[in-house]
């Protein structure tokens, strides 16, 4: 049985379509990544799945319960971390844990054990009496995750759990997510960070309310292998972009970090033409080499393809 099933979900706000006919399924124990730029509709989809928003049309089920008709059952069997940090700042770590233990109705005999587990998992045992306000971003996020799993829910919805957290803390957070997945928990996680996409078993890319790509990280990269990718480091990236416009064999040029990623159909022939064109314009090429496409390249390419289709 799939933990999450979405069939043709639509959610509109007035005339604005935030989620546009989305369908997907997430298997039990899977870490399912939900990617997309701002306003793509990730949070809206997650809220529908948590029973916080009623879908305009379509059907969705979580743990076999229908989101529109059985929200009570869903709430008992999910953990949710909303995008905005949502623990009580003026309560201590322990008071927050006790509060969620109470409203999730964790049975009396399990309470002490769950609390110990969460404190250890979040590495907060020593700071259990600290006011939550005084914790740094990474600790707060781990505490929020801990509070969302006190009742040991089979499915977890995490909405950008690592935004604004330093890279080291992000790594620690993803280690926790992997542990949870290994113990059979299904994790539905949205993120802005492309490097985090690599940690997911499967991914969906959302763009303007639609899912425009769905698959494992390897599958998505393979979809791009009809073309090759060159990393170009030149003295002036902007002039370079202009210079390469319309050059035969160059399919796409995208800014990437301080340099450029150039999508080409034939590596050797096009590389030669690129060097020639740039030399003619007096632009110095510091580095030009073929690279493996990263997740970000994949998504940039997919979104550009989508935009070309719309235009």
């Amino acid at each position: 049985m799939n933990s999450v099933e979405i069939q043709d979900i639509v959610k509109t706000f007035g005339s604005f379509v935030a989620v546009d006919h989305v369908s997907l399924a997430v298997a039990k124990g899977e870490i399912f990544g939900f990617l997309g730029p701002n306003g793509a509709g990730k949070s809206t989809t997650i809220r529908v799945l948590c029973g916080l928003l009623t879908p305009t049309s379509g059907r969705a089920s979580v743990n076999g319960f229908d989101v529109a008709r059985q929200p009570e059952e869903i709430r008992r069997t999910i953990g949710y971390m909303s995008q905005k940090f949502s623990l009580y700042d003026d309560l201590t770590v322990e008071e927050n844990i006790d509060f969620f233990t109470g409203i999730y109705g964790v049975p009396r005999e399990k309470r002490a054990e769950r609390k110990r587990y969460v404190l250890e998992m979040a590495n907060l045992t020593e700071r259990r009496n600290a006011l939550t306000r005084t914790l740094s971003g990474g600790w707060k996020q781990r505490l929020a995750l801990g509070c969302a799993i006190l009742h040991d829910p089979p499915v977890l919805f995490l909405d950008e759990p690592t935004s604004g957290v330093d890279p080291l803390a992000r790594g620690a957070f993803w280690a926790l997510i992997h542990d949870l997945s290994e113990t059979g928990h299904t994790i539905f996680v949205s993120t802005h960070y492309m490097d985090e996409a690599e940690y997911c078993h499967r991914l969906a890319l959302m763009y303007r309310g639609k899912v425009i790509a769905l698959g494992t990280p390897a599958e998505l990269k393979a979809g791009l292998t009809a073309h090759s990718l060159l990393n170009l480091d030149s003295s002036d990236p902007l002039d370079t972009m202009r210079a390469l416009e319309g050059l035969a064999g160059v399919l796409d040029v995208a800014v990437f970090g301080g340099g450029l990623h150039v999508t080409v159909d034939d590596v050797d022939a096009t590389s030669a033409r690129v060097r020639q064109r740039l030399a003619a314009q007096g632009i110095k090429v510091r580095k030009l080499e073929q690279i493996e496409p990263s997740m970000e390249d994949v998504f940039v390419a997919l979104i550009e393809a989508e935009e070309r289709k719309a235009a």
Binding site: L52, L53, S82, D90, D98, G102, Y104
Partner: protein
């Protein structure tokens, strides 16, 4: 309904309350300050009413009447004048509140055993004070003239008859005519109403603004449990306020307490339930703290102050407004508190008021729960 979830909410809310010591101090100090301030300011005791007398009669009888005015603690005779214009001028300038004009034929009418009328001119801009002053003056004049007429009749009959009517003024329930006795119980009710709404009006709006509401809505917690849990936490504060207010009323203002303490406790609790639920309802409906706060003050302060009959008597209002006062809980608490404090009446008299308060609490509780039931959008 799960007792554990209600308790979790209540405990959490108590943590918020005790951790924010400044707000807590305010919540406990403000009612006392309001009670002291308004209690002294609103004491409507009308005495030493500045008065001028125009005695046209200039007889022994009229001078005796003037002495009656001079002897009363309710009036202070500023000046004896010899025309109406002086009285009017001084009323216009607010230097006096009342003018008394004794007619030319005052003594003659009295001697004839007829009703002798005295003209009273009042500054009506403060209608409450004016009507109280008028009441004092009327009773003074009437009882005095009655005395004289009786004497005159006796004189003619050549023997002493008992006066036909004893028109001595007797005020029930508030025998010393001290308005603080009347004002303070009502004031306690009004203050509790305002404080209760203010205490709770922020509580749900804050959760919406902080984003914690979204988190809570994703848990098995039911709206009714949230409303109840929050109410009980603030109930602790409200009940403390009520206790302090009653103690200040009895020991600082020395308002007599004639009724049953258990009945007072029960009525106060039922009333607090309703008032606290009202704040929660507003908070759930507005979703922002600023709006909730303003609406909370407006919707509790104005009706409680104006329509509860605590200062402005309901019988003098237009019938539309009178009809509206029937749905104002403060009206019933004011009746209950005055009844318990001043008249010592019990449940057998006050049950309709208490019943209304219970009904109000129940309805607002259901409204608040329904408002919370609505989803994110």
């Amino acid at each position: 309904m799960s007792y554990r979830r209600v308790r979790a909410i209540c405990v959490k809310e108590l943590h918020h309350i005790t951790r924010d010591s400044r707000s807590l101090a305010m919540a406990l100090a403000v009612p006392v300050l309001m009670l002291l301030l308004f209690g002294f300011a609103l004491s409507l005791d009308v005495d030493r009413i500045p008065t001028m007398i125009y005695d046209q009669s200039q007889t022994a009888e009229s001078r005796a009447l003037v002495r009656q005015f001079q002897g009363s603690r309710f009036f202070e005779i500023r000046e004896m004048v010899s025309d109406y214009a002086s009285i009017e001028r001084n009323i216009d300038r607010s230097r006096i509140l009342m003018g008394v004009a004794i007619p030319l034929d005052y003594a003659k009418k009295l001697a004839a055993g007829r009703e002798a009328q005295v003209q009273i001119l009042l500054d009506g801009s403060d209608s409450n004070t004016a009507s109280i002053a008028l009441g004092y003056a009327e009773s003074l004049v009437r009882s005095y003239s009655l005395e004289l007429r009786t004497a005159a009749l006796n004189h003619r009959a050549g023997e002493r008859l008992a006066p036909p009517v004893d028109a001595r003024l007797r005020v029930w329930y508030n025998s010393s005519l001290e308005s603080k006795n009347y004002v303070v119980p009502g004031l306690i009710a009004v203050i509790l109403q305002i404080i209760a709404a203010l205490l709770t009006s922020l509580t749900i709006a804050r959760e919406w603004e902080m984003g914690t509401m979204e988190q809570i809505l994703s848990t098995p917690l039911r709206p009714a449990e949230m409303v109840l849990g929050k109410m009980f936490a603030y109930f602790a504060v409200g009940l403390t306020d009520a206790t302090i207010a009653v103690l200040v009323g009895v020991f600082v203002f020395e308002v007599p307490f004639r009724g049953s303490l258990p009945l007072l406790a029960v009525s106060t609790c039922v009333f607090l339930f309703g008032a606290l639920f009202w704040g929660i309802f507003i908070s759930a409906a507005t979703r922002t703290q600023v709006a909730a706060y303003q609406l909370g003050i407006l919707s509790s302060f104005l009706p409680a102050f104006l329509l509860s009959g605590f200062i402005y008597s309901i019988e003098n209002m237009p019938w539309v407004i009178q009809a509206i006062t029937h749905i104002i809980p403060a009206r019933y608490v004011v009746t209950i508190l005055k009844g318990i404090f001043l008249k010592g009446v019990g449940l057998s008299v006050l049950w309709p008021e208490l019943g209304f308060l219970a009904l109000f609490a129940l309805i607002v509780f259901l409204l608040a729960t329904r408002k919370l039931n609505q989803k994110l959008g």
